[in-house]
Amino acid sequence: MSGRSNGLRAYALLYLLFLYAPILLLPLFAFNSGTIIAFPLQGFTTDWFTQMWGNPTLRRALSNSLIIAVSASVMATCLGVFAARATTRFTFPGKGGIMGFIMLPMVLPEIIVAMSLLVVLLGLGIELSILTVILGHTLICMPYGIAILSTAFSSLDRSLEEAAYDLGETKWGAFRLITLPLVMPGIISSLLISFTISLDEFIIAFFLAGTEPTLPTYIFSQLRFPKQIPSIMALGTVLVALSILLLGIGEYFRRRGIARMGGKNGGGFL
């Protein structure tokens, strides 16, 4: 009995180690003064962060990625709200088919989406820029947003909105005052998921950005130069910290949402 549970414990430990140890190496080498990524560690330094911040291409890539991720997540979530509300509240002809096509990019190989978008955009004569990346990212983020938002909308009693309307509110007022606050945890989850997906997306960004760098494409291009690797490590460290912060915010809002509705926390992020 105890032998078996010890075995499982060891398995779980190894599993977690395999998952997170590489990520722990990032900050380790980001603060290491040696230029080669290898043990033993040399001394402590923050030079790589300074170097990273002093690199104009990297800063441009970072700002591009942030603009793209924020725009794509906001657009995907807004469109997701429309779609999720429509599918959970109304029946209309072709609903299943329409939803199927909207959700398809989730399982479609990204390379196919990226290539076909590139062909269409070039065919239409649209110049490649971060705007085209935003469109592509909105397309691939939307299914995730809809999946999250549909759950939020479908767990909502539809007579709530009717009650608000019955009590004299307008349709928009009923939505704003009742539905929106109640699905807010879902909206925040959708924004965060979309933001994360967009931030580390490589293929579409690589195909559609033209000459503009994004973080993933920039990092990929720099990996060829060993000298750059420590500052890439510093960048990775910043991104990990940022992700943890975002997840923490998301979890905080999720728990607050559940507590306000009087539900029990079932565990699990988002």
């Binding site: 007579s159 709530l160 009717e162 009650a163 019955d166 009590l167 004299g168 509110e169 009087g262």
Partner: protein
């Protein structure tokens, strides 16, 4: 039962008028020509099995559903172009639809958002409404922390604070347990008398409708089968569906022997010949093979040996089954000389013994409590 009925004269002003309402969902004919007048200050119930159109009718009155043809008038005004948020009606939903992210007070005050009155005045109104439903001091509580009965009260306060002309209640008690439901029935009646607002209740529970209503419309398949006061509905159902739906009724095959001068003479195996006036003749179901005689379980009395009855008629029976309920005993009786079994109920009063299975006995009854369905 609560005797509130005779307080409302027949001449009370019509509050809701439904004229020839037809409603289609695609091919489905949900309401088939509803004609209905609900009077001011009345406690009115729409009763029927699920799918009969009662909720659809309530929602057309509320303005949530459009109608295919016909008209709805509330307080004499046409409601055709009046949306739900501008009608003088408020609704208590089946799920109560309490806003879970707001406090009790915020829920109750929700309808006052567009009211120009000041904050303190509104707070006083909220407190008054909460007191009316027995929730004084609950204003600060989170709505999601309330019990089912309390949610119901908040829903009532939230609707009544707007002083609507009509309060619509969609199966408001179906989510409560039995004890709570019976308590709320009485409270609703009291509340309705206190505020004097017209209440329209939708329910599938015939007992609930009988207890609470001044008048009841029984609906089947999108039509009103009968609209009457509870006593009439129970004692003189106009057709067999209504008789089946409300309470328990025994049915025996009957043979019509003579019809003259408004009197129908029938022969019933086990009971013998009976003469019934037209007022005791109702419509049978289309699938009935012939005329059927019906009576309620409590209209026959099981006589103790040697007891004489004040009723006109007596019949020999054999006791087939005895079901003891504490305050009541149900007897399944086989009518002597037939294979027909009927169920009667007897109140267990002091000194009356429960009779045992297999014994021969006599029941007393009177033709005045019979209904013929033909």
């Amino acid at each position: 039962m609560i005797a509130s009925r005779d307080q409302r004269p027949e001449t009370a002003r019509p509050m809701i008028e439904c004229n020839e309402i037809q409603k289609y969902y695609g091919d489905y004919h949900a309401l088939r020509g509803i004609d209905l007048v609900i009077r001011e200050g009345e406690f009115f119930s729409l009763l029927g099995p699920s799918g009969c159109g009662k909720t659809t009718l309530l929602r057309t009155i509320a303005g949530f559903e459009g109608i295919s043809s016909g008209a709805v008038l509330i307080d004499g005004k046409h409601m055709e172009n009046v949306p739900a948020n501008s009608r003088p009606t408020n609704m208590v939903f089946q799920s109560y639809a309490i806003f879970p992210h707001l406090t009790v007070a915020q829920n109750v005050a929700f309808g006052l958002r567009r009211d120009p009155r000041g904050k303190s005045e509104k707070a006083a109104l909220v407190e008054e409404a909460l007191a009316m439903v027995g929730l004084r001091g609950y204003g600060g509580r989170a709505a999601h922390a309330l019990s089912g009965g309390q949610r119901q009260r908040v829903a009532l306060a939230r609707a009544l604070i707007l002083k609507p002309k009509v309060l619509l209640l969609d199966e408001p008690l179906s989510a409560l347990d039995r004890k709570m439901r019976e308590q709320m029935q009485v409270e609703l009646i009291k509340l309705q008398r206190q505020v004097g607002i017209t209440f329209v209740l939708v329910t599938h529970d015939q007992e609930e409708a009988l207890v609470m209503s001044d008048r009841i419309a029984v609906m089947f398949d999108g039509e009103i089968a009968q609209l009457d006061e509870p006593e009439t509905l129970y004692a003189r159902p106009k057709d067999r569906r209504v008789a089946d739906f409300i309470g328990v009724m025994n049915f025996l095959p009957a043979q019509i022997t003579r019809e003259a001068d408004g009197i129908v003479s029938v022969d019933v195996p086990g009971l013998g010949p009976v003469e019934l006036p037209e007022s005791q003749v109702s419509r049978a179901n289309p699938d009935d093979s012939g005329p059927v005689l019906g009576f309620r379980p409590e209209t026959m009395t099981l006589l103790t040996p040697g007891q004489s009855s004040q009723h006109a008629r007596e019949t020999d029976v054999v006791i087939d089954e005895v079901v003891y309920y504490g305050d009541m005993t149900y007897y399944d009786l086989r009518l002597e000389g037939t294979q027909h079994t009927v169920r009667i109920s007897m109140r267990n009063v002091f000194g009356r013994d429960v009779q045992s299975v297999g014994t021969k006995a006599r029941v007393a009854w009177s033709p005045g409590s019979l209904v013929l369905f033909r």
